[in-house]
Amino acid sequence: MDNNSKHVREPLVHLTRRLNVSARFAWLIRIGAFVLSILVCCLVSCLLSGKVSFGFFFKHLFEGAFGSGMLVRALLRDLSILLLLALAVTPCFEMRYWNIGGEGQAMMGAFGCALIVSYTSGKMPVWGTIVLSFVTALVMAVIWAVIPALFKAKWNTNETLLTLMFNYIAICLGAYLIKKVVPMGTGILNFDSGTLSSLGSGDFWIIVSAAVVMTVVMFVYQKYSKHGYEISVVGEAPNTARYVGINTKRVVVRTLFLCGLISGLVGFLLVSVKDASFLSDSTMQSTVAGRGFTAVLISWLAHFHPLAMVLTSFLVVFITRGATQVGNMARLGNSYAGMMVGIFFFFIIATEFFINFKIHFRPKAEKKPHETAPTEPEQKPVARDPE
């Protein structure tokens, strides 16, 4: 309250930006943080529950993730879906278009697929239904992705808010479809026919190969195509983009079109291949089940690099599945896995801070000229080149 010490004092701590961070250093820190986060997860679990011991935690963590062939397949399948969604939103982020509507876009893809399967299954050949549902899924997701892009291009509206809102509209539309198709049901559409999964049990291979192909395609697209170059210019230097004659508006809409295509693919894979059902109750109780939001983190943590995303999505899926198993075996309730994933994210996000900034403590009794603190917290894509 009393402000009698008016002289300028250097703060106890101040931050400076690290400029030339080597990719090796950055990844070493990240891996270290991951290991540390798991150890903290273990420690917290041991402290909070008498049932969990060090051995118990690691045994079930790894068993839950890799315990049997089926579990490994489930892990790879979950990883693929998450990776595809992260791939979908990545070019948007590279362009500094903060599309957090991956959830809704995939949801609309799922909606389109469910719509066609509900109304045409049994009325046309099964392959007709599948192809039509695939195309509809893509179209619906593209529409959902492109509307906010058009708003951005035309009126420069805030895409973060608009894409976020669109997630919830998509959920409501899905809920409406379910009530239309089965007015007195349990709120879930189950498809016995008209889906790819009804033809055979190749669901695992379809999903995983889709993810592999899309990862390679996105990598090439980002690194070696003219489009990829344009995206990064629009993102990093919008004025440069203008001066060299890049049509920014077209790039925005085109990129979101691409994002919609991949999200639509995910929606189709979820409904027609993985689940053979459609659910749209709330964000977490839906076919996409919040993966669209997790994908945002996955993409950001991997610094928008498609190959690094394989690793980050693997880590997230590994922790989720492993911790769920630990929680079930120790009977700790549902929130347990969420807590562990939270600890993991906390560490990883904190790591990014330490990679990008250096902390300086006030040297003892030495007066230094006041340095201009870096006031611009804008993220520089540091690890665009981890090779």
């Binding site: 879930i188 075996m329 309730g333």
Partner: protein
Amino acid sequence: MKKTLISVIAVILATIMLAACLAGCGDASGAKKEIELKPFDGIVEQKVNGEIPATFKIGLICLHDKNSTYDKNFIVAMENVQKELGLKDEQVIIATGIPEGAECKDKAVEMAEAGCQVIIADSFGHESYMMEAAKQYPNVLFAHCTGTKAHTNTDLPNYVNAFASIYEGRYVAGVVAGLKLKEMIDTGKITADKAKVGYIGAFTYAEVISGYTSWFLGVRSIVPTATMDVTFTGSWYDETAENNAAKKLISSGCVLISQHADSMGAPNACEEAGVPNVSYNGSTFAACPNTFLISSRINWSPYYKYLIDCKVNNKTAVKDYIGTIKTGSVELTNLGASVANGTLEKVIEVRKALADGTLKVFDTSKFTVNGEALTTYMADVDDMGDYKGETEAISNGYFHESEYRSAPYFDLTIDGINLLDTKI
């Protein structure tokens, strides 16, 4: 400056201590006690005969975890069975938070792969996924509680359904509510024509309809002038919606509330407003000592033991298992402190009459639909997705609830019940 600060802090601390002391004193002087209700004395205990092999494993798939009273009921029953039969933790796998989606099938398959011989799921929407898993693992027994499809799927002998005649428990709870209502009328708190009770349901399904109708019939067996408003939240667990629904009912003149949804939303709203509440799935006395009357609940332990007995001794499990008061599946909790005089004796009397079969909840002489007594009703017992009734449910003067399949199918709106909305 500093002095002011210190004195402010001192005052705040003093207030907190005073408040704590007052609260403490309040608890000490007016501590309310539950009235103990002993379990029904005619229970035929389910036993597991023979030795349970050390390799035996049982799995339970739950929609939520213990935070939901509904799932807690399943989990606690499983833990009790585990203790009673001396099973190890590795032999009893409980998976919580499994949505009513493809994850359910994944989990069921995972449990079967891990060596579970009996797998149980607890939520209505799990059914189709359990059936899919049952097709893949014909040697594993898949039991789905609250499901409807086992009796029509005869090609899946390893898939079974179960429920309990909880409508009988609700009827008894309704009698307790009726006695409380009568006490309010007798003491002049309300007049007989103002005897309106409120009910919060999750969805407009047969399960909920059967539940509130039986509860209301219990109320009406004591106070014939009683009416009931019913509102739905459209969710099995939505604390805010249930809390608001209770407040809405109370402000529209309901003097007693019950609910069929899984959160503490409604009981808490009742405790706040001082309105008596009949709970479900377990006692809420600890949180609501002034307003809690009674709660009915399903005890799943007898069914778990039945399934284990069937599997261990190579017996075929029945397609539809109906737990009753006699099997120990339908339970009533202790009574709250605020029940009317003579409630305990009446509860024991009604419970015995229901167990003996001398009293029928859905006695057609006790209710009317559109002003007329029912003589015939085709109920939708065979769930073929057509929502068309095909089974005559009324004979011998009563509606045969949970007899042709375990899950409830009473879905009529009887006179005296006013649906404020519907949620399906």
